[in-house]
């Protein structure tokens, strides 16, 4: 077990201009933490993980594992175990051989290897399959073998590169919980890469959001959700995504259709100091509510209703200035409005509004 730190680590691919796949990433992961790296494709999350594994060069900066600089150490000297998106099982070896391979290479005696393999197989419910070859296993079983291969090693850090993306939806949810529980039990530091923000939210102690090779924010799932540092994080975390609109600013607040949403004084002051006429206004679907027609709110025409069971998502158009903007509102699943209805929508509370700089995207509200 060990802590991991990226010290201004960069991966630069030569070219014209050079591509900075990971740009001065600085991140400290304490011992035993489950850290999720999340971002859209091309954000550099996998590259960052592969740099930690030693499969990708670190062109600038350094990487430390357990306080030791491993920037130029080959993968086998880093005491890490990795689960690949494709699982990368050795097809010519049985499940038991796959799982025990690393120990065998280290010269651990056979009885000991067998014992550890059986222990891990027990944890993952693989005992029945130890003598099979990977091709005779289902996708979920292969995924567990890949996990088992990592566990048997008892490494100081687990690295996982989108290990669930090849599973079907139901199995993915199940395995997600299993991995989180397993990490809890083993107490080993884990770095987990995913593009799925739900996985990130549900599994990680902390989540690091990357975009274009740059770290956007690293915090607990709750903090990311409640106080996104910029408009990108606000839009990326949460499903359905936050409603983000660039709207005119008045002396009282922001102007949406007929509705002026009053804003926190400090946010207004800050916007005024920066000389902003417009701001990016963000409100999550659950922070909006349908209100009776006579109350104060913005008029929305319902264009789509997605019923999820417990609740429903109402997509609709609101006029802002001369443009028609789409909003999503989360409502009670039992009484959703019908398609084409005109409804009134209001913000639940001033504290649920996020304001961002319209150009830099940085957060303006506290």
């Amino acid at each position: 077990m060990a802590e991991v730190s990226y010290v201004k680590a960069s991966r630069v691919y030569s070219g014209n201009p050079p591509v900075r796949a990971v740009d001065e990433l600085s991140l400290d992961v304490p011992d035993g933490e489950f850290l999720v790296l999340v971002g859209p494709s091309g954000s550099g999350k996998s590259t960052a993980l592969r740099m930690l594994a030693g499969l990708e060069d670190v062109d600038e900066g350094a990487i430390h594992i357990g306080g030791k600089d491993v920037t130029n150490v080959p993968p086998k000297g880093r005491d890490i175990a990795m689960v690949f998106q494709s699982y990368a099982l050795y097809p010519h070896m049985t499940v038991a051989e796959n799982m025990g391979f690393a120990l065998k290479l280290r010269g651990v005696n056979k009885a000991e290897v067998r014992k550890k393999v059986e222990e891990a197989a027990g944890m993952l419910d693989l005992n029945k399959y130890l003598d099979r070859k990977p091709k005779a296993l289902s996708g979920g079983q292969r995924q567990r073998v890949a996990m088992g291969r990592a566990i048997v090693r008892e490494p100081s850090v687990f690295l996982m590169d989108e290990p669930l993306s090849n599973l079907d939806a139901k199995l993915r949810v199940e395995t997600r919980a299993n991995i989180a529980a397993l990490q809890q039990r083993l107490g080993t530091t884990m770095i987990y890469v995913t593009h799925d923000q739900i996985e990130a939210m549900t599994m990680g102690h902390r989540v690091a959001v990357l975009k274009d090779g740059l770290l956007q924010q690293c915090d607990t799932p709750r903090a990311l959700y409640d106080r996104p540092a910029n408009a990108f994080v606000a839009g990326f975390m949460g499903s359905p995504a936050m409603n983000l609109k660039t709207v005119p600013l008045t002396s009282e607040g922001v102007k949406l259709d007929g509705l002026v949403v009053p804003l926190d004084r400090r946010a207004l002051d800050r916007a005024a100091r920066e000389g902003l006429r417009e701001v990016t206004f963000g409100v999550r679907p659950e922070s909006l509510a349908l209100v009776p027609a006579h109350e104060y709110g913005m008029d929305m025409t319902v264009e789509l209703v997605e019923e999820l069971g417990a609740d429903a998502l109402v997509h609709g158009a609101v006029r802002i200035g001369n443009a028609s903007e789409r909003f999503v509102v989360r409502v009670d699943g039992r009484t959703p409005p019908a398609l084409g209805n005109r409804v009134k929508v209001a913000v639940r509370g001033a504290g649920e509004i996020h304001l961002f700089h319209p150009e830099s995207g940085l957060r303006l509200t506290d």
């Binding site: 086998k76 890490i80 494709s86 990368a88 050795y90 391979f101 290479l105 091709k135 996708g139 090849n166």
Partner: protein, 279 residues
């Protein structure tokens, strides 16, 4: 599968039967001829039965016409050495080209392609000069090297293509598990490339086994140092061809090739790397 119509089925079988007959008949005829006395070998009314003797085989093997067993030994030695050397060289080269990025990679592969385009006859004189300079002219080792010049480029191409089909994730998993780069090649990639290696080995073997032009140019003229393919020429003289002996010797020459093919074909199984990655 949909059932074929009867007519289509008949046509298909007829076509396949004809093709097989065309392929197999010459070999069959050589086999038949090898059991006939020389005088009856090329008759105007050939007969299949009642002429079987093993005299031709006895004569050929007894060394009456030339040291057949020595030729045989030379051929086996040269072909085996060529096979081992070219499989080793092309496997390592093919893996490097498949996995690593290095300057000159494209031109290397291109040059492998270009060298295949020269007819053997053009190469004999320059190769002779080189062997002479190396002091290898007239030796088996020299001939092995010459065969490698044709076998290695082709086999490298073949194996590079095969290695490309093995996911690089496996290399990386191996490295994380504690293998050195050579360990990855030896313990993960080679076992998975068995079908590719088998084809390569067979090709290299055949390159050396049946070749005449280089063998007659580069080996010493002494009877004891000839290879089989060269030695067979003693049965074909200016005025007379000993068909029976030639046929018997040919059958004997074909046997090792068949044996090698038999050994190799067991490895020609598809889907060795199935199950490695989710596909």
């Amino acid at each position: 599968m949909a059932r074929r119509r009867r007519l289509a089925s008949v046509g298909l079988h007829a076509a396949l039967g004809t093709a097989s007959l065309i392929a197999v008949f010459p070999v069959f005829w050589v086999l038949v001829t090898s059991f006939k006395p020389d005088a009856r070998a090329v008759g105007t009314s050939p007969r299949l039965l009642d002429e079987s003797t093993v005299d031709n085989y006895v004569r050929v093997l007894s060394g009456e016409k030339g040291d057949f067993l020595a030729w045989f030994g030379n051929s086996v030695q040269i072909a085996a050495l060529t096979t081992v050397l070219s499989v080793f060289l092309s496997a390592t080269t093919g893996y490097a080209v498949s996995r690593f990025r290095f300057p000159g990679k494209r031109s290397l592969m291109l040059s492998f392609l270009v060298v295949q385009m020269f007819p053997f006859a053009v190469l004999i004189v320059p190769l002779y000069d080189i062997l002479l300079a190396l002091g290898l002219q007239g030796t088996s080792l020299g001939l092995v090297l010459v065969y490698c010049t044709t076998a290695v480029p082709f086999c490298t191409y073949l194996l590079k293509g095969y290695f490309d089909t093995i996911p690089t994730d496996l290399d990386e998993a191996g490295r994380v598990d504690g293998l050195s780069p050579f360990g990855v090649f030896w313990r993960l990639i080679l076992p998975l490339a068995r079908p590719g290696l088998a084809v390569t080995a067979f090709y290299a073997f055949l390159t050396a086994w049946g070749e005449v032009a280089f063998a007659s140019a580069f080996l010493s003229a002494a009877d004891g140092s000839k290879t089989l393919a060269v030695g067979l020429q003693v049965f074909v003289q200016q005025n007379r061809t000993e068909w029976g002996h030639l046929a018997a010797a040919s059958i004997l020459v074909a046997v090792p090739a068949v044996v090698v093919f038999y050994l190799v074909q067991r490895h020609l199984v598809a889907g060795l790397s199935a199950g490695a990655v989710k596909g």
